[in-house]
Amino acid sequence: MLLQLDADLEMFRDTTERFLGEFASVEEIRRLRDHDAGFDPDYWRRGAELGWVSLLVDEAHGGGSVSGNRLVDLSVLAHEFGRRAAPGPLITTNIVASALSAHDADPELLAQLLCGESVATWAHAEGATPGAFDDLTLDITLDGQSLVLNGQKRPVESARVASHFLVTGLAVGGPSQVLVPVDCPGVSVTPMEGVDLTRRFSVVTFDDVSVPVSSAVGELGGARAAIDRQLEYALIMANAEAVGAMQTGFDMTLEWALDRYSFGRPLASYQAIKHRFADMATWLETAHALSDEATAAAGAGSPDADELLSAAKAFIGDYGAELLQECVQFHGGIGLTFEHDLHLSLRRHTVDRALFGTPADHRRRLAEISIEREAAS
């Protein structure tokens, strides 16, 4: 997270932190493991009242930025979520809200998202294969005044509690987005198991799902830029969340090492452990730095935003995983038990690492941009 926040943003952060401290305690998260949705509707409604869904929504539609830089706001919010491994469809609902707002679509749904009465989800990824985080194959066929969807999306977050899917696919020769109510005939939702205790994913299959042409969000065939922009939001939030999880794991483990004695000395006095903490500290600071730089670059529309977002995703994914596994190691067996809190951070980081492109996917994207630029120069 940024080293310094302006006063408004700090207040927003602090409010969120205190709210999550009360309503997303570790006990609550453990309890939610058996909850169908992974979060209580009332919790989400109250979070929405704090502004959790409004940051990417235009003021005209009832949204607004806290600090004037909405992407920085977003990353601060996601960072707090990561620190607490907080429940709720933060990433996906914000993306749908941003799309509706940007395209003046379905104001009624947008209003419901904003106040937390409804949840909607972005049905974008198409599987585990490389590149699947931004390749599209789902078919959208224009049939008179209808659009007919065929294909599969996975993983789709909160699919079982969402009222609508914002589905990406190919129509009239190009990337497109369509808003599909969950109860449309032909939509089937298969719940998945996963590593996070509160974040629920499903496979969503579209089998000749027909919706009116007016369900298109943005231009049919011309949604590449919008989708890229949404992917940017997703990467910003996933990165900030993952860094938050790293921070919590690190803090908890440093405290443990200072307190825990082994052979009559604090764990923290062993040089082999100290040096590994030193490396962890470099990874943690670098993760903060990359996440913040990438957010700033995206906010400024800088040409290197994609590179920085991918570098951040790759770095935070790989080094963050090592950091959290080191935290487990220093805790010993207790760090692998369900009753300990450490795995909540590890789980959240693991999900964020795997979604919206793995570290390897983003190294590839970064390399391809570099190679292309080098060839052009």
Partner: protein, 420 residues
């Protein structure tokens, strides 16, 4: 009893016949994943019963305790015969739950330090599958410092009264006996105030609590000992001299499945997901044609072969005396490192499947949970940090780490601020 030693090829023939007649075949794919929570309690108890049954069949067929003296129900043969049996068992079920810790380290410790009466009482019972043993060694407060045990045994006439807590016992809820390290003297330095006891797990005052791991596994237990009374005849070794036993105990534990007292089908790997499943993960994730996935599969296979080769070299070196016993820590350290790396390779191959999966996703199922459990091999059975200490100090002869507990009465050793 001095019989003519059986010829290796006869032995092999006998083992082969037994295996064919009595044992089911198993497929390698059963052995993937890290401490996965795959069985219900009922299934687990049935599996334990089957293990006991197979062990009894082995015993009756004179194939139990190959390297255990005949006087205690074993076969009194060399490790070469154990290897033959292991080879013949390849691809078959075996009494997995009895190997570790019952045969190694518990039976090994008993053989080395038990009285004649103790050995006669327990070793044949172990070999018949009647007694499954656990290590009551680690403690919640202890971490790597097993000799810092706080569980206390106080003498009361011919009995000892034990109080304290032990943890990380595998399956204590279906086991019979615990080999227990306890403090019998707080007024001497820590290594000089310990004693070792045998403890029936069903004894009054022993409460077994099952620990839930983050992936749902409930394999491990914690025991709470409250005024548990055991006779002095269940003490192993001298009073306050438990660390002499403990040192060898630790050695036998590090030997683990490399001990000649354990039976393990040749080719079985115990270092997490093997390479075959890496290929399956890559295939089921649609990455099998990616050069980088191929590289990761090659790396996993390299590490797997490296682990096997190292294990054999160390076993040979220690057996022949060209390496010190302490060298087993080299294998322990490397196995930990490579298991951790394999966990990362698995989730890297799984892609988005590492975060979420459906039951139909084949090899992708639970790869994410295996990743969360990745460090278990670097922690269980003594951490890799302890192994690194042993390698550097005992194998390479580098200076010992400074400890604050060596020449001071155990009760005066500095402890965690939060522990007081």
């Amino acid at each position: 009893m001095t019989n003519a030693v059986e010829d290796p090829s006869e032995f092999r023939e006998r083992a082969r016949t037994f295996v064919r007649e009595h044992l089911e075949t198993v497929v390698a794919a059963d052995q993937v994943g890290i401490l996965r929570n795959q069985r219900s309690d009922e299934e687990e108890l049935a599996a334990v019963a089957r293990d006991r049954e197979i062990q009894r069949l082995l015993f009756d067929a004179r194939l139990a305790g190959i390297c255990v003296p005949e006087a205690y129900g074993g076969q009194g043969l060399s490790p070469a015969y154990q290897r033959i049996l292991n080879e013949e068992l390849t691809g078959h079920e075996f009494p997995e739950r009895l190997q570790s810790p019952t045969f190694a380290p518990c039976l090994s410790v008993l053989l080395e330090f038990g009285s004649e009466e103790q050995k006669q009482r327990h070793i044949p019972a172990m070999l018949k599958g009647e007694e499954i043993w656990m290590q009551f060694l680690s403690e919640p407060s202890g971490g790597s410092d097993v000799a810092g045990a706080l569980t206390t045994a106080v003498r009361d006439g011919d009995e000892w009264i034990l109080n304290g807590s032990k943890v990380w016992t595998t399956g204590a809820w279906w086991s019979d006996w615990g080999l227990c390290l306890a403090r019998t003297n707080w007024d001497v330095p820590k290594h000089r105030g310990l004693s070792v006891f045998m403890l029936p797990i069903d004894r009054e005052g022993v409460e077994v609590h099952r620990i839930e791991m983050l992936n749902g596994s409930k394999e491990f237990c914690q025991e709470f000992l409250s005024d548990v009374r055991i006779p002095d005849s269940d003490r192993i070794g001298e009073v306050d001299d438990g660390w002499t036993v403990g040192t060898r105990w630790m050695f036998h534990e590090r030997m683990g499945m490399n001990s000649p007292l354990t039976t393990i089908p040749h080719g079985t790997t115990h270092a997490g997901a093997g390479n075959l499943s890496m290929i399956s993960i890559a295939r089921d994730a649609g990455r099998i044609d990616d050069d980088r996935a191929v590289d990761l599969i090659g790396e996993a296979q390299t590490l797997s072969l490296a682990n096997q080769a190292l294990r054999r070299r160390l076993a040979e070196g220690i057996a022949s005396g060209t390496m010190s016993d302490q060298s087993s820590a080299i294998g322990r350290l490397f196995a930990g490192r490579t298991a951790a790396r394999s966990g990362t390779i698995g989730i890297d191959l799984a892609g988005a499947g590492g975060a979420a999966w459906t039951p139909d996703d084949g090899a992708l199922v639970e790869v994410g949970l295996d990743f969360l459990m990745r460090q278990v091999t670097c922690i269980g059975g003594g951490t890799t940090e302890m192994a690194a200490n042993v390698v550097s100090e005992r194998v390479l002869g580098m200076p010992r780490e400074l400890t604050m507990d060596r020449d001071v009465a155990f009760r005066d050793v500095p402890r965690s601020p939060s522990a007081s």
